[in-house]
Symmetry: D2
């Protein structure tokens, strides 16, 4: 298909040319003199992006799935109790990962259109008088549903229950898009991949580990080698790695960090908020429904859209892919066929969002969903225009 592909799944996101070009270069000697400055800049920048001074950055050549495993094998021993909340496909899989690695997981089943309820967190932990839970697993922004849980409230609940469990947070589709505060919210481990708000291709897992998690790693008995973060922390301090790092990804990561800090975190978050609100206005004006039931928890990195009762959300995604050069996300797990997902995170601007909405409208009609072409677009344009003070009008 001629022209540009619109990759509007909720990650991987569109990789800016600047980042692609930074990675298109000779591979350096990963034990050579060039590494420490490169690694040092990345670690310092990522700390700013995680909003932490006390967390340590850990990098692996791996996927987000690998990041889950890394967060667990370093903090949870086989047999340890872990508390998890099933509010979507990925929060369920994170729990499943813990289970497969030998943890005793209590996975609280919840509706897939809402966040992790902090009251419930408080109640469960308060009842755990033996302090048997070693960790609480939370997905900050659930990529399957477009719901951003209130981490501050969750941490508050843990504090008010006076529970020492570690707080492990998946920030895969949040970091670099949605405000996430590692230090302020006393997160113990945050984990992500490179292919979302960090605007890189997939291929690298990134963790931020706080002091309590690092202490825990000295004690836990989980068998581990590749994901053991102790040698990584030790070597990255000197600017190297105990494994062969994905060196070209490091050059891309440095460029991504630079781009985010040039725009400024506040600017990045505001842009995501603005683009996301444009999408939501369009969804509403088209007569479709945003899956997330609580406006306070709307995700600014993706929107899951529920299709009418007898429609097939997969047909919308198919129409986009086959006819419009547009990639949308399908509904996952129990949302299959019922919802599709629009990714609006990473390197993105207003015209790209409008192209996406135009395509979504057309793909819906192609999939047999009746909606007024252009209505969503007009609503989104009007929202985007609100901030501009137009010049005096001319007919």
């Amino acid at each position: 298909m001629p022209g540009r592909h619109f990759l509007q799944i909720p990650g991987p996101t569109n990789v800016p040319d600047r980042i692609l070009r930074a990675m298109d270069r000779p591979v350096p000697d990963h034990r050579g003199p060039e590494l420490p400055a490169l690694v040092g800049e990345i670690l310092a920048g990522l700390r700013q992006i995680f909003q932490t001074t006390r967390g340590e950055i850990v990098l692996y050549p791996a996927s987000g799935t690998g990041a889950w495993e890394a967060s667990l094998v370093n903090t949870v021993s086989p047999g340890d109790r872990v508390l998890a909340f099933n509010i979507g496909h990925f929060s369920h899989l994170y729990a499943e990962c813990a289970r497969r690695l030998g943890a005793a997981v209590d996975e609280i089943d919840l509706p897939w259109n809402d966040g992790v309820p902090s009251q419930r967190v408080h109640d469960i932990l308060a009842r755990d008088t033996g302090r048997t839970y070693k960790a609480v697993l939370v997905v900050h922004n659930e990529t399957s549903t477009g719901v951003t849980s209130d981490l501050k409230a969750i941490r508050g609940a843990m504090r008010s229950a006076d529970h020492p469990a570690l707080l492990l947070v998946d920030v895969v589709s949040a970091l670099g898009s949605i405000d996430f505060r590692f230090d302020e919210w006393e997160v113990d481990v945050a984990l992500t991949g490179t292919q979302k708000g960090l605007m890189l291709p997939p291929g690298m897992a990134i963790l931020c580990a706080g002091p309590r998690a690092i202490e825990a790693a000295a004690r836990v008995t989980a068998p581990r080698y590749f994901f053991d973060w102790r040698p990584v922390l030790e070597e990255t301090r000197r600017g190297y790695f105990p494994y062969t790092p994905a060196t070209l990804m490091l050059y891309g990561l440095r460029e991504a960090v630079r781009m985010l800090l040039e725009e400024g975190l506040a600017g990045v978050f505001a842009r995501h908020r603005r683009l996301a609100e444009g999408v939501r206005r369009a969804v509403a004006a088209s007569g479709l429904t945003v899956l997330c039931r609580d406006p306070a928890l709307y995700s600014n990195s993706l929107t899951a859209v529920v299709v009418p009762e007898h429609a097939d959300a997969d047909a919308v995604v198919r129409a986009g892919a086959q006819r419009l050069n547009l990639a949308l996300g399908t509904g996952l797990g129990r949302l299959k066929g019922k919802a599709f997902r629009i990714g609006h995170l990473g390197a993105l601007n207003e015209l790209e969002v409008l192209a996406t909405i135009a395509g979504v409208e057309m793909a819906c009609v192609m999939a047999g969903i009746r909606l007024p072409l252009g209505a969503g677009l007009a609503a989104c344009q009007r929202f985007f225009m609100e901030q501009y003070i137009p010049a005096p009008a001319t007919t």
Copy 2:
């Protein structure tokens, strides 16, 4: 500005990644063994794109301006009479180029919203009983106005006047976008740059020279060196050049030729027609005016849009550039401030056109032009949807 830039001027056009990557490679020895196969494939492919078997391809590292000069110094001697038609900025400049190179140019002044009138061509040439005109200059698709002159009728007029003047045609914003038939229309020289329908960066001038033009080159007395096509024709026959060619551009050109032939010329023209009609529907639905007065001559590679009386077209272009990451073309020459231009040629698809229209609507409003946001978009979407047979509708 984050996200993709929308380069929707009427050229240079968006260069596909595939072409950019083909050019991002080591420079070869331009006298080495690799060249002949590369050059051979390019020349054969360009012949197909010019729709010729009798024309010879001539390549220069130069701009379209250089292509004008090349078309003239090889066919027109200082003092020769030349007939030209001022129907826009570029047809005027082409005439001016001839004048500066010493030709006696009769430049017929005509309205800037219409094509070259074939009847007029006939009348002038029929009156030239001494056959003093050596060449007729025509811009096939006038990039400043969005008007595509009827070359077939023009050549018909020359034939019916039985005039031997050479027909030199600027196909800069037509080739690879709009049907152009070198052989069928008995064109003597066609000239273009690489940065429009050929989807390359600017930097190369391409000519197609027919047998009568090549004969003329042996006789003309214009002083010439760089643009003398005789040594070029001789060396390219063996796959080399008498100058150092822009070798990386050659790799890009080969890729561009492949892409056009893979899509098929008929497909390429149909896509341009379709995208152009979408734009025109949007312009009309927005209450704006297409400059070209004759629908039969609407350009399929760009649309010049006239703004309301007291509005400033330059302000629209400025709003796009400064606020929307959108590049539109300004009005040129006598159209300055009165019209802006939307480029819709080269590597482009429906969603990119819709993003462009969305941006044009918003930029107009920012520039103080009152129009209903979304109206143009809806009209364009409806047109694009006409070809699809939707699945049975679901509410």
Copy 3:
């Protein structure tokens, strides 16, 4: 430093432009329609390169270290006995990986200038009448010493001892450079990274798993999630992955596979043999010593060079890096300071080898090692010239 960097460590190797460009492209939807053809071509090509029809290919975004873990968690349960041979840094670390993952490892300590002795393998396994060893770990080409063990003989020893242990082989610096025959040598798991003979950047782990290993995976009790190959095998069969794959690496891998098959495996091996012999001739003519004591086991992908008694091999490497734009490998583990390593694998030709030798000679002199400049070069040139029949001589 101006000019090209000579990356002559034993991996990562120089990534050809063709592969870098294949990776410099938009990220696709990893659940989209483009993946199956891409993945299918890669798997089929890798099978050819592993010389197998019965093995299954497993891909992970990870390093070679991750590949070790993957080979073990799918075939060895905690507490299982494993036989390993310490003949160099990496064979020791592979054993250590198994130990850390809970295996009971018998690691036979051997000299670091020789291969795994097949007779010893036979003797140990023959004595294990209870068939308690579940796996034998072998590094085909030990990257720290430049010794290629005789896998055929090792498998023969296992067969003659009639022992059912699985044969797990690290082919990290062998695959795509040195003849390795998965089927013929009845290997159960072979593992590698992308950054050596496959000519890609680091970032992906590749395994080839035979039927007995796949059976074992159904039984083993090792806790595993990311490296569990069962879901990978299931999904790659359909052209997808259970995790977000390093999609751009996949495009590079397809290109690498194409390049290797275009040259032909026999041609690739012959080229490596030829370049390696050139290096060894140079080392000898310089008065230095190849570490590997048995010429039958000389590695064709790297050469470890022993420096004279009081010299410092690290100083040679430093001189290359700081003054000559040349990266050489240091001596690892017990070879630190005593040997340096020249990588001569991957995308490489004669002039690059000669440049490397020139640099090695100069770096040695800079490091205070007395040797005749140019002697190694001349020996290498003479060897490279042997195959050419020169034209009749002219003075």
Copy 4:
């Protein structure tokens, strides 16, 4: 052929990755807001590289051949007398270009192994009492012979003859490699292409025009359009161009300028001097002959090597291209078959030079020339080592 190509012709030269990547990016609107800063940095940087404050930079999308034409049509009217010196293929062609454009050229025939004799310049001009010569054409570094004429002396000769002719200098294979001082030597026009010391691909012509040349342009009567520098000078002052510039080349040019200024002109010249001397030592040690007869005029950007009487220099070049992935320059014009040329300019370092010499030695032997393999290499290595103070020796 696997591995890197060694492009060691005297230009185009190897384009550094950094420059290639700077050019691998979306094409900008050449009338957009991004241009002025880009153009401004380039012009300022080029002025530093031409060592001028009074010269104006003129850029064209063209080849070096086009630069010749541009230097002439702006300064010489048809019929004007021009003085030229045939000391090699390119100085002859420059004269021929002037002739073709209508000048009355006195081309002094001289040996092709020496520079332009300043005494001769003085004598001819002193005799021209009518001051009929309008321009003197000199090629600073003759790319076909490897001779660098003494421009300072030539300008001195013109001054001592008190002749007002303009001094037009071809610095194609000198600029950015060999010390060239536009202001100090009172050059009137200097011209070059991008593909030599500027390390870019071919495709752009660069002129530096001094005040007297710019004055002349207002008076000369040569018909000109594309190469008329008046509109170029006017528009580039504002950061734009009167033609569509080769925009991606501009990004590359900015990067090249940055690289040269980062290294420092003095450093760049010293590196070229050093690498060139290494090559000459090798040529001598191999028993071959440098064409240039006067060591004071040895070119630091290329060396033309004379082969023994009955040998065929073209066979050397062919052997390099077909068997060694090495591109050397052939002998041009009257040197065809008698000499080959080694380019050693642009982005280059010692190991690349040594690889080139290794290849030259082998190619010579393959072409039937008897020489001791390795002798040239050793001589070159020894020269490169002279500057290093080795550590205390170890046997």
